[in-house]
């Protein structure tokens, strides 16, 4: 329990001291001013006729009890008011959680990659069901990048889009690649990454931004951005790039230098690089990516003060009720 306005009780104390002193002074003066009863007061004699009665003592005792209870209620009310004015708060050290991630899935849809893309979509489709607060966007690229959908937290929509794209991958007729072939060549990874890196809206909001780039980095053609340039762009924008490279295997050792370039670029942005042979391992990789994101996102534990007025509000309410009831009994 912590007080946000810790000085409020001190102010109250000073105010109460002033009030008490003033009242005492005024009462003293008044007591001095009149030792006599006021003129409107009825003069009677032999009050012991009344005060000696046992009923009188009883009534007086009852009255004093009521008065004491009333005073206690008022004191409690005052205490509650002082406490409330000081804003009691619960201290919690909070790790900034990852509910504010923006993830752009950046899928290379050149023919060799489709199987891996499907696996990634499936895994993210499942993940999306558990997300709260994260936003996901899906960008596919070949020669040019197409935004299937921008960053959104509408998880039902995301799942549907994933399912739709997966179905299109499987279908003979669907032209899922439409719009991706406008560039000079195919599988222009640099352009694809650059496109994904600028898909983040709200650059002023503090969110974690990451791109999951699924490609074999087998570029054919003349890209506008080379992969390192695109990586630099991503780094400038504070975007982590996680690379998943199905081409980086012993079987395709001719691609080793491409894989190395990919790895270098990805690691320069602060992301991580995964090579894989088998689409089946993608869930594990996605887990790892999200875990890594968690690790990188986990900042300093923050002290969070949240107002906890409830006990004092309850106390104030009860003491107010008590004083009202006792006050009513006193009036009778």
């Amino acid at each position: 329990m912590e007080l946000i306005f810790w000085w409020a009780p001190l102010v109250w104390l000073v105010v109460m001291a002033v009030v008490v002193v003033t009242v005492v002074i005024v009462l003293r003066r008044r007591a001095k001013a009149r030792l006599r009863a006021p003129d409107s007061s009825l003069p009677i004699a032999h009050r012991d006729r009344l005060t000696a009665l046992p009923g009188y003592a009883r009534a007086l005792r009852r009255y004093r009890l009521l008065l004491a209870g009333f005073a206690a209620c008022l004191v409690l009310l005052l205490v509650a008011a002082v406490a409330l004015s000081a804003r009691p708060a619960a201290v919690a050290s909070v790790q900034p959680d990852l509910k504010n991630r923006d993830i752009v899935l950046c899928l290379d849809i050149s023919g060799s990659m489709v199987d891996y893309d499907k696996e990634v979509l499936e895994v993210f489709g499942e993940l999306a069901e558990q997300f709260t607060g994260e936003r996901i966007s899906l960008v596919i690229f070949n020669a040019s990048a197409v935004t299937r959908f921008p960053l959104t937290s509408d998880y039902g929509y995301i799942s549907r889009q994933f399912a739709e794209l997966s179905a299109e991958f499987d279908s003979e007729t669907a032209d899922y690649y439409s719009g991706t072939l406008f560039g000079d060549g195919s599988s222009l990874v640099g352009d694809g990454l650059a496109s994904c890196a600028v898909r983040f809206d709200t650059p002023e909001v503090e969110r974690s931004r990451s791109v999951i780039l699924v490609t074999d980095n087998l570029v054919a053609g003349d890209p506008i951005f080379t992969l390192p340039e695109a990586g630099a762009l991503a780094r400038d924008k504070g975007v982590l790039v996680y690379g998943i490279n199905p081409g980086d295997t012993a079987a395709k050792s001719y691609l080793a230098n491409l894989a190395t370039e990919f790895r270098t670029v990805v690691e320069q942005t602060g992301g991580a690089y995964f090579s894989l042979d088998d689409p089946e391992t993608i869930p594990a990789i996605v887990d790892e990516i999200t875990a890594q994101q968690a690790a990188t996102m986990e900042g300093e534990p923050e002290l969070v003060l949240s107002d906890r007025p409830e006990p004092f509000v309850l106390l104030a309410f009860l003491s107010l009720c008590g004083s009202l009831v006792l006050g009513w009994r006193l009036r009778r």
């Binding site: 030792l35 006599r36 009863a37 006021p38 409107s40 007061s41 009825l42 003069p43 009677i44 004699a45 032999h46 009050r47 006729r49 009344l50 009665l53 046992p54 009923g55 009188y56 009534a59 007086l60 009255y63 006193l330 009778r332």
Partner: protein, 295 residues
């Protein structure tokens, strides 16, 4: 300064009291004068006259009941002992000031006495002073006496202490007198009881008790109230409880009954009055009781 005596006379002559006044005169006469052997004159019968004083022959002759009057064997001295301490400046049971009741009672008795040629004296005072006004039989004298009671009885006066006045009366007067005490209705302390016993041997003692304010009176429950003794307030919140009111009323009744018993046990005629309108009938009853007590 209004004349207190005139006020007394007015009170005696208002319609409601006119009958009682006659009764009172008759009662006074028969109590304190009785019959001497010396016949004085005849006068029309007044209710309250002794039936055996009626002169039947004269009545038959004149057609109106006539009463024989006798020359009083001697002049009496009525000594009024009044408490003028500040307790008597408090309210009486029904809201009049006890002082006003005392003045009316003293005035009525004094007036009757003067009309009968008796002399009236006063011993009045509080815990600190006792004043004695010599016996005389004139109206200005009675007026002065009443003024003294009226003036001295204020809330600024010293506390009441009837013992002082009783002691004074017991010591100062050898001659037998009719002593008429006006005090409040509280139970007598042990020394006071002794003095009363002594006084009623020396003198002929009548005692008028003025009932104290009904503290629990519902009409007063909203007003402030204080004890004249020390200006201590009587808290209003306690004066509203019906249970306490009943208990108080019972206690007051019991206390009044106990005082009455004490006076009865001393064979002193006493009467309790509680308001101004109660004074004249109360005095009448007191005299009546006294007359019966003497026989």
């Amino acid at each position: 300064m209004t004349s207190l005596l005139r006020r007394v006379k007015t009170t005696l002559s208002i319609r409601a009291h006119r009958r009682v006044r006659g009764l009172l005169e008759g009662e006074y006469t028969s109590v304190f004068h009785g019959r001497s052997m010396e016949f004085d004159d005849l006068r029309p019968y007044i209710a309250g006259d002794e039936v055996r004083d009626i002169d039947w022959k004269a009545t038959a002759r004149l057609g109106v009941p006539m009463t024989k009057r006798f020359i009083a064997s001697r002049k009496h001295t009525i000594l009024v002992i009044a408490d003028t301490g500040r307790n008597m400046a408090a309210l009486a049971e029904h809201g009049d000031t006890k002082r006003d009741l005392a003045v009316l009672a003293a005035g009525t008795i004094g007036y009757l006495a003067i009309r009968h040629g008796d002399r009236v004296a006063l011993v009045a005072g509080d815990a600190e002073h006792t004043v004695f006004v010599r016996p005389e039989s004139t109206e200005p004298h009675l007026e002065r006496m009443l003024q003294r009671i009226d003036r001295n009885t204020t809330t600024d006066a010293a506390a009441s202490d009837l013992t002082k006045q009783l002691e004074y009366a017991a010591k100062a007067f050898r001659r037998r007198m009719i002593v008429f005490v006006i005090a409040d209705d509280r139970e007598l302390s042990e020394p006071e009881q002794r003095l009363v016993r002594r006084l009623c041997v020396q003198h002929e003692l009548l005692w008028l008790r003025i009932g104290d304010a009904d503290i629990m009176r519902p009409e007063w429950s909203g007003s402030d109230m204080h004890d004249v003794h020390d200006a201590a307030p009587i808290p209003a919140f306690l004066r509203e409880s019906p249970a306490l009111r009943a208990e108080f009323a019972a206690a007051v009744r019991a206390s009044a009954a106990r005082s009455a018993d004490v006076f009865d046990s001393f064979a002193v005629s006493s009467r309790r009055v509680s308001s101004l309108s109660d004074v004249v009938p109360g005095l009448f009853r007191l005299l009546e009781v006294h007359r019966h007590a003497r026989r």
